[in-house]
Structures are given as structure tokens and as C-alpha cells.
Amino acid sequence: MTALTHLQRLEAESIHILREVVSEAERPVMLYSIGKDSAVMLHLARKAFYPAPPPFPLLHIDTTWKFRAMYDMRARMAQESGMELLVYQNPEAKARGINPFDHGPLHTDMWKTEGLKQALDLYGFDAAFGGARRDEEKSRAKERIFSFRSANHRWDPKNQRPELWRLYNARKAKGESIRVFPISNWTELDIWQYIHLEDIPIVPLYFAAKRPTVARDGLLLMVDDERFPLREGEVPVERSVRFRTLGCYPLSGAVESHATTLPEVIQEMLLTTTSERQGRAIDHDQAASMEKKKQEGYF
């Protein structure tokens, strides 16, 4: 008997899912958000199709408000993987200057939710890989690995296809699409352990360093560029911080930390007493907010 570890089994399952989609979908794409979950998903794709490069492009739904270090990582990974990188910015959000400081929830809605729908329609992608995990949030615990979206991208939690064994039904009518979550069964700890074991490159923001920050509305925000409007009396302070999740920099709360290596980050994570999503402003809007966003087409 060869005992496979939990990470080997998770890896095998994810690779199986990636290959099923490539075999059955006409035009797959990988949604690449540059964070650690995307890093793992991309690494799994490279393993699944080796020695060929993954036979689909990477798509980044950009909001123009990501950390600069994320844009650097994006360029590097596109080059290393040999995959085509598509970047989409919702032209209407751009024209109207939608930003997280002035527009609140509209920022996420226009840039991300609408931007994603527009990009999928523009390129005609019929299957999109996403790095969501079931342990992130309660409504995600019930989502299938292959998640169907109507022609106008809506998710119906009451009308999902049963998923049995390793059999995924990828058939769909014209105009319908599937979102596929190959790392559904990974937990945050699995992700970190795998990054550690496989030496997967991640954005340096996950490690502690001195960064200019301001404390605002219960979050520690990093002043990543000159667009950050300082309120009266606010002065950026150099703090040793790192990020547990990455998104738009004005929406991502940092934690004070001295963890500069991966084992130290994992150590902190395991000893910490708050969940990963707490650093995301987006989830606190209302109870069951993620479920509502998802029905509307948010990833």
C-alpha cells in the first residue's frame, strides 16, 4: 500500500477537474486574481497539462486598484507559465472613475461583477476556472465544483446539478456557461502547506515588511500609491504588516506581523483567532451577503 497524503489526494482531484473541463468545454479560461489561491490553481494547471502549457488563457478582471506588487507578480507568472494573459477593465467603470473610496459597494459591482460578465461575453468563454474554496464562507460550502450560470450569468442555488463520484456533467446550452472551482475542497491551511511544499511563488505582500499604513474604520490600510486620499489628520505610519488576503488595496486590511518566512506565516495563521475573510471589507455588508452577490454573478 502506498499511503497518499491529503495534499496528494487534493492535488489529484484538482488536476482531474482541470482535465475534465479542457476535454469537455469549448473555450475554457482561468480567472487569475494573483492571490495565493490563484497561485495554487495556476500551479495545478501547469502540472495537469505538463509537458504542454495549460491549453487556455489567464484572465485578470482588473479594477486598476490592485497593489503594485500584484501587477508585478501577474507579469512574472504569465511569462513563466507560457500562457496568454488577458486583462479586462470595465470601460464604463473606467469612464466614470469608479473607485473604492468614493463609491462603496458600487466599486466591486462595476469593476468585478459587471467586468467579469462583460469579459466572459466578449471572449465567448464557456467555462471559467475560479479559485474559490468551500471553507471560505458558508454559502460556498454548498456550491458544486461545476457551477452553472444562466445566459445572463445568474446562479440559482436551488437548481444545481447533483455531483456524484468523480462524474461532472459539463453539458450546457448555447449561451450558458460554467464556473469551475478546482480547489473547492482545499482549506486555507492546505493552500499554505502546498505553497510551502511545492515552493510556489506568491506576492511578497503575504510576508511581513515595513509598509506605510493608516488605521481607518477598523482596518489597517496600506498607502500603496498617490491615489490614496488621506483624511484630515491622517499620516501614513511605517508598520510591520502583512496581508492574509489580497484584493484592491483600499479594501484589503493588513495585520501587524513579523512573519517574514512561509513557516512563520503558517505559524501565525494557526495561532490566530480570526478567520481569513475578516480582512475583507466586502463580506461585512450584510448577513448572507456572499450568497446574494453570487446570485447576481459575482464569482
Partner: protein, 638 residues
């Protein structure tokens, strides 16, 4: 807060704090166990899972704070923490206090990572339990100690057995509410043992516990000194995994994808279902039967010396053999079988009932074929386990039936191999997954009846008649004018020297199909037979005209699929229902309206118009003569 022991997690916490590298090393070698919990709404299932998550420290402070607030607002445990709220997911369900779908939860100990499928216990959700159980190594069947073995306990146990779960835990919950009585526990276990034996569950582990109080869940309870077995978590950490058995079985790899980055490399990618493989092993490609030798096991991290069941791999072979998605690579001297007719158990999962004779897509491992299902031999009552007669299967029904695929598939009995014996059925129109199935065995006749090759081919028949065979399929409501137009078309073709034959609905029902009525199932069989006859006639080179209401899209498309591309010409004789009813040539509408005629198309049985027929005749604006001219002109032009 309730009184909770979190010793095991404290131990791990120490190691994390003192030596993170040692911790990471230890945790890289954990195995993975998937299990399901089955119980009804009140058995305390969500509470038990919530307890496992909580005691293994998968709950963070912010979640705990939200939980405490929620417990006070909507909880059912007074001022105590309601663990069930941790796992009840969607907003609508939370308000009803019911879990209505399959949800997956995760927790880990020092030894294992666990994936829990949380499945509801209501009868109407058989499909959810079967779904959750299909990937599980073990089932935890919850019983309320006050209530004992109930109908639903039997149902859950039967389904667990049906789906092939080898390890069963009988969790006798709420022991705190029966004063931790050993007598009560023993009574329940004896009851259950008698039932379990009758359905083939010979072994199970019974544990007295309380999810709410935490007895015997993660730590041994001092309330049950009479219990000497393992506590739940201990058992979950040590029970044998299905993968161990799978690795001992013969090698099978369903090919998912052929990797061809350049002309010099051809790799066969897939997840190894059973067994193990090394370079140099002799393998056979099924269904073709060609043999070769494994050359390399290619991976991103370099070639591997061996791969085992559960791993996703890419193999190269020494020879240029034909092998593509859907084929199975197997050990050469012990390959799986290939057949096209089977006996199987079906679990029906769609609102629309299973109809005998209708064709569906069948997906088994990486194979996808068209399949027809016979009427069920019997249906199983999941509560009493009685066999009942059934003509069709409704949502959540379980039945045994025979099915035939349009081409042979590689398979193994489900009891021997979940990957090569488990399948899903997909509706050809809605693309919904409508059933899960388990193959038992191949029917003998499929192995003994072979196609006889004939020397005078269909091409030869057609050439002699100097025409292209066609099936002109007229469809439309009763009284739409199908027979009238078909008759005119046949006369015109005959005059042109064409060899034709007209199959008329009423006439066929006097002979070939006189045993069939007008239920949905009989209508499907009616069309299937007509399709087969029309096909034989086109093999003989004829132009066949058929005039049948043929109300269902699926059956018209089934006939289309029987014929070579381009030979099926669907002609929709489009007449409004009001107009057809006004004409009422045969007086049938009047009878149907009076309730003397059941299942009449347009009245109490649906007509599904063709979305894209080759020809559409609007009888409101076209005379039968003009329609016939147009059809003949189209036919001659093609």
C-alpha cells in the same frame, strides 16, 4: 459558553508555537477521509458536525462571536451556543432551520484531514444523500437515543449500503437525555443489528454520544464508563480508507485527455481508478484490445518510478496505439469487460420522471454514450425495502432496470469498481443530470448477438433505385393535415419514378403497434418502432414518409440519431390547436374534451414543437397541394 475540552488542539498549539517546522513536517503526512452524516432534522446532526469543527479548532473568534449572537437570535438552545448554526448555510434554510442540500465541511486533526458531506434526512432528498455518499469512505448514521431505530434510520442505512459504503458508524446521539442508560443503548444496538444484517451490513461500530454535551465525540465521557470502544474522532482517525482496497485491485486508468504538445510526445492523462503501474508494465487499451508497454510516467517534477490508484498521471506507451478520451488503459492480462447491455440500479434525481424507451446520455468514467432504458423490473420502497411493480421512476425513486448503449463501453460491476461501474444519466435537452446508476452485470445476449455483415450494402440498394434514401417525418397535432399532405407528396414522388413508402400512424397502430396505448411510455415505444422500421426501409433504398403526431422532441431526435446525417427530414405541419379542434375530422377532440379519451395531444398531453425543423408548413397560409409541391421541390433540390 458551554464546557468544552480542547485538549488535543492545545497539544497541537504547543507544537505550532514551539517548532513550526516539526508541525509542518507532521502535517504533510496526514491522510484524507471523506464521510457523510445521515440523520433527520431533529437527530442533532448539524450540532454533531458543529461540535467536531469546534473541538478541532476550525472555528475562529469572529465566527464564534457571530455564532453567539446568532444563537441568541435564532438559536434553539436557549442561551447556549447552537452549534447547528455553524453549518446551516444558505439564508433561506437558516430561517427555516433546515439543511436542504449537500454541504461539505472540513476539519483536521494531527492524523487526518476530513471532508464531511452533510446530507439531509427528509425522504424527498434521497438524491442529496446518494450524492453525498458517492464519494464517502464512511457513513455516520445518527439515532436519537429517545426514539431508537426509525424508518429513516433504515432508509439511510439502505442508501449507504446501496452506494457501497463499507464502514458504518451508528451514532446513538442525545445520550444525555436518556441518563446515559446502557440498557437503552444496548436495546437500540440490538434492534439495529437485526435490521442491518437483513440488508447486508454485517459490521458497524455503535457509539453512545452527545453532540450537544460533547460526550464521546472527541473525548471519552465519564458518563459512559460501561462503553469501552473508541470515541467518534478516534475511530475516524483510524478506520481503513477505500483507497487502500482500490490500490490492491488490478490497474485501470480511464483516459481523460491525450497530451500532444508536439509530434514527438503523446501522453495519456487520467486519474488511476484502481491498482498501480510502473514503466515496463504490459497494458491493454479497451475497448480495442490493443496491447503495449508503459514507457514513462511523466510529471512536472520529473518521471515517476510508480503511480497508484488515486493519483492523476500522464503515461506514455512504447507503441503508436490508438487511444483517446473514453478508452481505458488496464493491466494486459486482466482487463475489464466491454458490453452494451446491462442490468443496473437507477436513482432518479429529476422532477421529470424516467421514461422507458427514451434515450439519454450516459457518462461513465470518461465515456459518454447514448443509452436507452427499459421499463423498470421493479422499484424499491426505501422505507420497507419491498419490491414494487413500476412503469417509470419518479424523483427520488430507486429501481432496477436494463439498459442498452448505442456502442459498447468498458465497465466493471459497481461492487468491484466505483469508477467503472457508477454512471450518471443526462437529459439530452435540458442537459440536467437526471439519474445516478450502478451497473451490476452485462446481459448475456449482448455478448452473443452480433451484427451480421451483408454483401449488398445500403449504398448498393440506393444506387439501384437511382435515388437518395430519406425519411420525410411529418409531425404535428391530430388533424393538422399530416396524412393529407404526406399522401399528396407520395403521389407526386411516385409519378416521378421514385420508390417510396408511406407509414401512417393510424395504420401502424392496427398491426405492428397494436399492443401499445397512449401513455407517454407507449408513445415513445410507438415512435421507436416506427423509427426502426423507417431505418430498415432506407437501408433498402426507399424514400419513407411517416405521418405521426410524434409529440415529443426527444423521440423525433432519437429517430434522427438512428439515421445517417441528412437523411432525416423533419416537416412540421403547423396548425393552431383551435383550428385543428375546429376541423376535428375524426371527432377525437370532442371525445377528449368530454373526458372519454385520455392523454390526447394538445388537450391533456403536451405537444413539443420542433425548434428547427427542415421544413415548416403553415397550414393557415398554405394549401395541402402547395405544401406538397414545396416539399417535393426541396427534396429534389437536395
Amino acid at each position: 459558553m458551554t464546557n468544552i475540552t480542547r485538549e488535543s488542539s492545545y497539544k497541537a498549539q504547543d507544537l505550532i508555537a514551539e517548532d513550526i517546522d516539526a508541525y509542518l513536517e507532521q502535517h504533510q503526512h496526514k491522510s484524507l477521509l471523506r464521510f457523510i452524516t445521515c440523520g433527520s432534522v431533529d437527530d442533532g446532526k448539524s450540532t454533531l458536525i458543529g461540535r467536531l469543527l469546534y473541538d478541532s479548532k476550525m472555528i475562529f473568534e469572529d465566527q464564534l462571536a457571530a455564532l453567539e449572537a446568532d444563537s441568541k437570535r435564532v438559536g434553539t438552545q436557549g442561551q447556549d451556543i447552537d452549534f447547528a448554526l455553524l453549518v446551516d448555510g444558505l439564508a433561506a434554510e437558516r430561517e427555516q432551520g433546515i439543511t436542504i442540500d449537500v454541504a461539505y465541511r472540513f476539519f483536521a486533526t494531527d492524523k487526518r484531514k476530513f471532508i464531511v458531506a452533510d446530507t439531509p434526512g427528509h425522504e424527498q432528498y434521497t438524491r442529496n444523500m446518494v450524492t453525498g455518499a458517492s464519494t464517502a469512505d464512511l457513513a455516520v448514521i445518527l439515532i436519537d437515543a429517545r426514539k431508537g431505530v426509525l424508518t429513516q434510520t433504515r432508509r439511510h442505512s439502505y442508501l449507504a449500503k446501496l452506494i457501497g459504503i463499507r464502514s458504518v458508524v451508528l451514532a446513538v446521539n442525545k445520550m444525555d437525555l436518556v441518563e446515559y442508560s446502557q440498557a437503552r443503548f444496548d436495546e437500540i444496538v440490538a434492534d439495529y443489528r437485526a435490521f442491518a444484517k437483513s440488508i447486508g451490513i454485517d459490521e458497524f461500530l455503535a457509539i453512545p454520544l452527545s453532540g450537544f454535551k460533547g460526550d464521546n465525540v472527541t473525548t471519552r465521557s465519564h458518563h459512559t464508563p460501561w462503553y469501552h470502544g473508541p470515541v467518534l474522532l478516534e475511530h475516524l482517525e483510524s478506520v481503513e480508507l477505500d483507497l487502500t482496497a482500490a490500490q490492491a485491485a488490478p490497474f485501470r486508468l480511464p483516459v481523460q485527455w491525450v497530451n500532444r504538445p508536439n509530434l514527438d510526445f503523446r501522453g495519456f492523462a487520467g486519474l488511476i481508478a484502481t491498482g498501480r503501474v510502473r514503466p515496463g508494465d504490459a497494458v491493454r487499451v479497451l475497448p480495442s484490445g490493443k496491447t503495449s508497454v508503459v514507457q514513462r510516467i511523466v510529471s512536472f517534477d520529473g518521471d515517476l518510478p510508480e503511480a497508484v490508484a488515486g493519483q492523476s498521471v500522464t503515461l506514455t506507451l512504447a507503441d503508436e496505439v490508438d487511444c483517446s478520451r473514453g478508452d481505458v488503459l488496464a493491466v494486459a492480462d486482466n482487463p475489464p469487460q466491454v458490453a452494451d447491455q446491462f442490468e443496473a440500479t437507477l436513482v432518479w434525481m429529476a422532477d421529470e420522471a424516467m421514461l422507458p424507451g427514451r434515450s439519454y446520455w450516459l457518462k461513465l468514467a470518461t465515456q459518454q454514450v447514448s443509452v436507452q432504458i427499459q421499463a423498470p423490473k421493479y422499484q424499491i420502497n426505501v422505507n420497507t425495502l419491498e419490491h414494487l411493480a413500476a412503469k417509470r421512476l419518479e424523483l427520488n425513486a430507486i429501481g432496477v432496470t436494463t439498459l442498452s448503449t448505442d456502442k459498447p463501453i468498458v465497465f466493471e460491476p459497481y461492487s468491484a469498481n466505483r469508477d467503472l461501474g457508477g454512471f450518471i444519466l443526462i437529459d439530452k435537452f435540458t442537459n440536467a443530470t437526471v439519474a445516478a446508476g450502478m451497473l451490476h452485470f452485462a446481459l448475456r445476449r449482448s455478448q452473443n448477438v452480433h451484427w451480421q455483415a451483408v454483401d449488398i450494402t445500403r449504398e448498393a440498394h440506393a444506387a439501384q433505385k437511382q435515388q437518395q434514401p430519406r425519411v420525410l417525418w411529418f409531425t404535428g397535432l391530430s388533424g393538422a393535415g399530416k396524412s393529407t399532405i404526406a399522401n399528396l407528396v407520395e403521389k407526386k414522388l411516385h409519378a416521378l419514378g421514385k420508390h417510396t413508402f408511406l407509414l401512417d400512424g393510424d395504420n401502424v397502430r392496427h398491426g405492428l403497434n397494436k399492443d401499445l396505448g397512449f401513455t407517454e411510455a407507449d408513445r415513445i415505444e410507438n415512435i421507436r418502432r416506427v423509427g426502426e422500421v423507417a431505418k430498415l426501409m432506407t437501408d433498402a433504398g426507399l424514400i419513407v414518409l411517416t405521418a405521426f403526431i410524434s409529440p415529443f422532441r426527444a423521440e423525433r431526435d432519437m429517430v434522427r440519431a438512428m439515421l445517417p446525417a441528412g437523411e432525416f427530414v423533419e416537416i412540421f405541419v403547423d396548425t393552431a390547436l383551435a383550428e385543428a379542434e375546429r376541423r376535428d375530422v375524426k371527432g377525437l377532440y370532442k371525445k377528449a374534451r368530454a373526458g372519454q379519451l385520455k392523454n390526447f395531444t394538445g388537450i391533456d398531453s403536451p405537444y413539443e414543437p420542433p425548434p428547427s425543423p427542415e421544413l415548416r408548413i403553415d397550414t393557415a397560409s398554405t394549401t395541402p397541394e402547395d405544401a406538397a409541391e414545396a416539399i417535393v421541390a426541396t427534396l429534389l433540390a437536395s
